[in-house]
């Protein structure tokens, strides 16, 4: 059930920017998953994408920026995390499987609105203690206070890393778009 994979020294996480070819002449029908809402469907094309997966990282963000045929923009923010694989499913090397933890997608009239959404997203909100992040068992009376403090410290560090990696991703993806015509 448990793995010691993340007990090794934390990796210097660096994701990958995946840039879309430009110009993409035709529009494709795109469907993006959203938490608590029906999927966002639109006709559009991908402008840029960032994949935050990195070795020894348990929760990361995948980002996408799209242009719609109606000249709007769509921002996609997906928090991915590792869950233990049931048994024979396609495995991560460590026996974990990638699952989306939180899915956000929203449509914006202007590019500025879309970029502001990316810049202001609180990545710490995508962390769920005990499921996609270290547990904080403050309801368990058998846990000694000292251990509770360590759990809280671990959770705090985990959140800090998630937010730092998210910001790295936003910076990398937007710099990759650069002066390109979107």
């Amino acid at each position: 059930m448990t793995s010691t994979v993340s007990l090794s020294a934390p990796a210097y996480a660096a994701g990958t920017v995946v840039a879309a070819d430009r110009p993409s002449p035709a529009w494709t029908l795109i469907k993006l998953r959203r938490d608590g809402l029906p999927p966002l469907r639109f006709s559009g094309r991908l402008i840029a994408r960032y994949r935050g997966i990195a070795p020894r990282v348990a929760l990361w963000h995948d980002l996408g920026l799209y242009r719609t045929a109606a000249a709007s923009f769509v921002v996609e923010i997906v928090a991915q995390h590792l869950v233990p694989s049931p048994d024979i499913a396609p495995l991560e090397p460590s026996g974990f499987q990638v699952r989306p933890a939180r899915c956000h997608a929203a449509l914006f009239e202007t590019l500025d609105g879309a970029l502001t959404r990316l810049e202001t997203h609180d990545a710490a909100c995508d962390v769920c203690p005990g499921i996609s992040a270290p547990a904080l068992s403050f309801n368990d009376p058998s846990i000694p206070p000292a251990l509770l403090v360590m759990q809280a410290t671990a959770l705090q560090g985990f959140c800090g890393d998630v937010v730092r990696r998210y910001k790295i991703g936003v910076g990398a993806m937007l710099a990759d778009i650069g002066l390109r015509d979107v």
Binding site: M1, T2, S6, A172
Partner: protein, 193 residues
């Protein structure tokens, strides 16, 4: 072969994460993902001088900064044995302002793992920004247990943290050395104003 017959799906090409992307031509008129440094026409005294061109400077968690400028200096402390290295580059814009770019990266990585840029009005502001920068913000936290680890195992993370702290101290020291090389020995230890 008509170009309209080209494949309609979006093909993805891997792109290395460069911190700076120079562009020879000017910025396009349509909206871009960049913030432009405010260059008022009256103070644009260096426009047209050799070496000035549009450069996109990456920032942390924000859209990049596009400046019309030239690189003044770049220095790094990349050497064997360091777990992470840092790089400082300073650009002069056509309006005689300065863009200070700081990168932190791990050896062997494709691009910078952490990168930020600040636009400053004077060399003194550059010095203040650089001296006030804490390189440790770029490092991952030392304790990273897996989310599904039982509570008792978290304690093991402390061992990792103590080893991690040594690396962090060396990283911090190397950063101070880089600052001293650029700004002078006393500057590296001067608290930000």
């Amino acid at each position: 072969m008509p170009t309209s017959q080209r494949r309609s799906t979006v093909s993805e090409t891997e792109n290395h994460m460069a911190a700076t992307q120079p562009f020879g031509s000017g910025p396009v008129s349509s909206p871009t993902a960049c913030v432009y440094s405010a260059e008022s026409p009256g103070h644009d005294s260096l426009r047209g001088h050799p070496g000035f061109r549009w450069t996109v400077l990456r920032r942390h968690g924000k859209r990049p900064l596009a400046v019309l400028g030239r690189a003044l200096l770049a220095a790094n402390n990349r050497c064997a044995g360091l777990p992470y290295w840092s790089e400082i580059s300073i650009h002069e814009t056509s309006a005689r302002r300065f863009a200070a770019c700081v990168r932190h990266a791990a050896p062997g990585a494709d691009g910078p793992a952490w990168c930020d840029t600040w636009l400053c009005d004077s060399p003194e502001a550059v010095r203040t920004i650089l001296c006030g920068h804490d390189p440790l913000v770029a490092l991952p936290s030392g304790i990273m247990p897996h989310p599904l680890m039982p509570a008792g195992r978290v304690a093991l993370g402390a061992d990792v943290a103590s080893g991690h702290q040594g690396a962090a101290l060396r990283f911090q020291g190397a950063w101070a050395g880089l600052l001293a090389a650029i700004l002078g020995l006393s500057a590296a230890h001067r608290p930000p104003a």
